[in-house]
């Protein structure tokens, strides 16, 4: 008994020593340090620049041609709605010009469309003759607009209809101030937490709350997959430098694999902790409050650990049967294709966290961690039974994959040269 105890203690010590070296040597590499710091910098920089760019930088003015068949709207629009808009948005001007109506209105419209096709202006608007008195229409022509301009077309539509509305109020002897006053209804959005305090949420808070599930899912993703890359490169290095046989003369393949996985789990947790801290700091610096419940944190850790173990088993198996990083890429492809699913569909999942898609993906073991964290942090009251079932399935998958990976690792790690075929790997699994 004493022998067993001391031997398992010694075994644990070996595993921890391997883990410690793995952590230190990985954390020292340039790729790790750069990745740790540069990714948040790039993300922050991109957000900052795009938000500034959309606010400040001048955009090409939109040019709009208008054929006002009623003859009443153009001047009013130009001096009213459009000039107000242009004063408020110095960087995003909308220039309107009259396309003089010919004798025949149809000929005018055909001429305008022709010029639009030639690219003389970005949009062409035709106002029906009875636009103010009767229920005439605004016809809004565009010709293959580019997406950047497309988003501003909405403004043009709004301003044009605003100009028409104002004329209609005048025609009915209504004061436009009065109408505006009657139309405006103030709304305060208040989200009540568990406590007493009622905080009116700023739009920034709402945005942060909306992005939070994605952020958590992204951390899980990086912790699992990004760390897996380190696992693979560390194994390929050991195979390449032939250090593996020296290691195996001192420790068992299982101890080596366990040590690596634990060491790199610490690497993953470092990345997650640093990024989460940076995001939290940035958010509170911007005055955005982020509340994260304790329950969510527990799930986050449980799902991360299980998800990480699942992927590290896969990556350990891949790394052990390949000799170069290039060879691993072919095998990594299918894994990455699967993991990308929640990244692409996160929007749908957040919108409908208890929908069939979210439920189904929760029980695809490689995706369970990401999808469940997304669902729980999206505020869905996921039934506890579903959470436990997903954890049980994930844990069972992890146990199976660890068992298989240990077998593949044991044989594959010493193989140099040709990569083994699938049939051969299946044979290793059957060996005792």
């Amino acid at each position: 008994m004493k022998y067993l105890l001391s031997s398992s203690v010694r075994r644990m010590q070996k595993i921890l020593k391997i883990a410690r070296r793995e952590y230190i040597e990985t954390a020292k590499t340039k790729t790790f340090i750069l990745g740790l710091l540069i990714v948040p910098c790039v993300v922050a920089g991109t957000i900052y620049l795009t938000s500034r760019a959309s606010e400040k930088s001048p955009q090409q003015p939109l040019t709009i041609a208008i054929s006002d068949l009623s003859g009443k709207v153009f001047e009013a629009a130009k001096n009213g709605a459009f000039s107000e808009y242009n004063q408020r948005n110095a960087q995003r001007q909308i220039q309107i010009q009259q396309l003089a109506p010919a004798e025949d209105p149809n000929a005018t419209v055909e001429q305008g469309k022709e010029q639009l096709r030639m690219g003389r202006f970005d949009a062409y608007i035709v106002l029906d003759e009875g636009i103010v008195q009767d229920a005439g229409k605004i016809r809004f022509y565009t010709c293959k607009p580019n997406p950047g301009k497309m988003s501003r077309m909405g403004n043009v539509e709004y301003l044009m209809s605003e100009a028409v509305r104002n004329l209609r109020y005048e025609a009915e002897n209504l004061s436009s101030e009065l109408v505006r006053k009657l139309q405006s209804v103030q709304i305060d959005r208040i989200d009540i937490g568990q406590g007493e305090a009622e905080d009116a949420q700023s739009p920034a808070d709402r945005g942060a709350r909306f992005m939070l599930p994605f952020f958590f899912m992204f951390l899980i993703y990086i912790g699992m997959v990004g760390t897996g890359q380190h696992l693979i490169s560390s194994m390929i290095e050991e195979k390449g430098s032939r250090v593996i046989e020296v290691l195996l003369s001192a420790v068992s393949p299982f101890e080596l694999m366990a040590g690596k996985i634990i060491g790199l789990a610490a690497v993953g947790l470092t990345i997650i902790a640093v990024w989460a801290a940076l995001a939290y700091t940035a958010a509170s610096w911007q005055g955005v409050s982020i509340e994260v419940g304790g329950g969510l944190m527990v799930y986050l850790v449980v799902y991360y650990v299980l998800g990480y173990l699942l992927f590290s088993a896969l990556f350990a198996a891949v790394g052990s049967i390949c000799n170069t990083i290039k060879e691993t890429q072919g095998l990594m492809m299918p894994i990455m294709m699967v993991v990308i699913i929640p990244m692409i569909s996160w929007w749908r999942l957040v919108e409908d966290p208890d929908g069939p898609l979210a439920r189904a993906l929760s029980f695809v073991p490689p995706l369970t961690s990401m999808v469940m964290v997304l669902r729980i942090s999206a505020g869905s009251q996921v039934w506890i039974g579903e959470i436990l079932a997903s954890i049980a399935l994930l844990a069972a998958t992890v146990l199976f994959l660890m068992w298989a990976a240990a077998k593949i690792f044991r044989t594959g790690i010493l193989m140099y040269g040709k990569r083994p075929a699938l049939r051969e790997i299946l044979r290793w699994l059957r060996e005792e």
């Binding site: 070996k14 020593k17 032939r242 250090v243 046989e245 020296v246 195996l248 003369s249 010493l414």
Partner: protein
């Protein structure tokens, strides 16, 4: 408790890789405290046998005991293994690599503080302690690898081609350390295909070819068995009479002296007596067959039969 224990006991072991039979029905006992040479041409199965002893690969059949243990995992910390493919972490410093491998072999930090500098100076690498492994020359790398193997002060050293790529000075350095280890009562197994290295070091020889044991005995016994029945002499005076002596079958000039082939049952002592009466003898050497010759004779003929 047995008094004389086998450090390694390999019993009827087989191992195939696909259709290739790397080791076939091989048995060998390595007595504790001896230096045992595993000899054979390239691809004979030496490395495979050593890897099976270290439980790095498993035999298809047969069993292996290491330091009296059936479970090799338990004995691992008492063994030092230097694989043929050398490898160390290139980005770590010399002292750290040595300490790391010591640590995972179960050496305590307190012991490492003393052992790391001691072993570095024993293989004359003390000045490079702070250098990165990738900055070392090939010979230095190999000496460090040897220190890594020995850092847990094992009872049994298993060295796969320990001298390949070393210059004569470093070869002698490692040979010296190996002989000191035998003095300390340790067992050393090493493989080589360079025969004269084995000749100078080994107590026992196992000659393998194509996975089969061809010879397995004490070096002295092997040399006695394959004695060539020849004598080399250097003598002053007229040596023409030698050809006519009854125990002499042939005489051949070799360098300054003569190589004399004896008849079957011809006794070198009789020859010496006959010589000292007639000429002044400066050198008289009963020729011991070199392992190289035995190797070429046994393996050359075996492999010639195949082709």
């Amino acid at each position: 408790m047995l008094l004389i224990m086998d450090a390694v006991f390999v019993n009827r072991v087989n191992k195939s890789f696909g259709a290739v039979r790397a080791v076939g029905d091989l048995s060998v006992r390595v007595p504790a405290g001896s230096i045992y040479g595993f000899l054979g041409p390239n691809g004979a199965g030496k490395t495979t046998t050593l890897r099976m002893i270290m439980d790095i690969i498993r035999p298809d059949s047969g069993d292996i005991e290491l330091l009296g243990q059936r479970s090799i995992g338990r004995a691992k910390s008492r063994v030092g293994y230097m694989p043929e493919e050398r490898g160390l972490y290139r980005k770590m410093t010399v002292a750290k690599v040595l300490a790391y491998f010591g640590a995972i072999k179960g050496v305590s930090n307190a012991e490492l503080a003393e052992r790391v500098p001691r072993w570095l100076s024993r293989v004359k690498l003390a000045e490079t302690a702070g250098k990165k492994v990738e900055e070392l020359s090939r010979g230095m790398h190999q000496k460090l690898q040897f220190a890594v193997t020995a850092i847990n002060e094992p009872e049994l050293m298993i060295l796969d081609e320990p001298f390949s790529g070393l210059d004569p000075l470093n070869t002698d350095l490692l040979k010296g350390v190996i002989l000191e280890m035998r003095e300390e009562g340790k067992t050393v197994i090493f493989s080589t295909h360079v025969m004269h290295e084995a000749e100078k070091l080994c107590d026992y020889i196992l000659l393998i070819n194509k996975g089969q044991a061809i010879l397995d005995d004490r070096l002295a016994a092997i040399q006695a068995r394959y004695k060539s029945g020849a004598v080399c002499i250097e003598a002053e005076g007229d040596t023409g009479f030698i050809q006519r002596l009854p125990m002499v079958a042939s005489v051949k000039a070799e360098g300054k002296g003569l190589e004399i082939g004896l008849t079957d049952g011809g006794d070198p002592q009789e020859l010496l007596k006959a010589l000292v009466n007639r000429v002044r003898v400066n050198r008289f050497e009963v020729k011991v067959p070199s392992l190289h010759e035995i190797f070429v004779k046994l393996i050359g003929s075996a492999n010639a039969e195949d082709s």
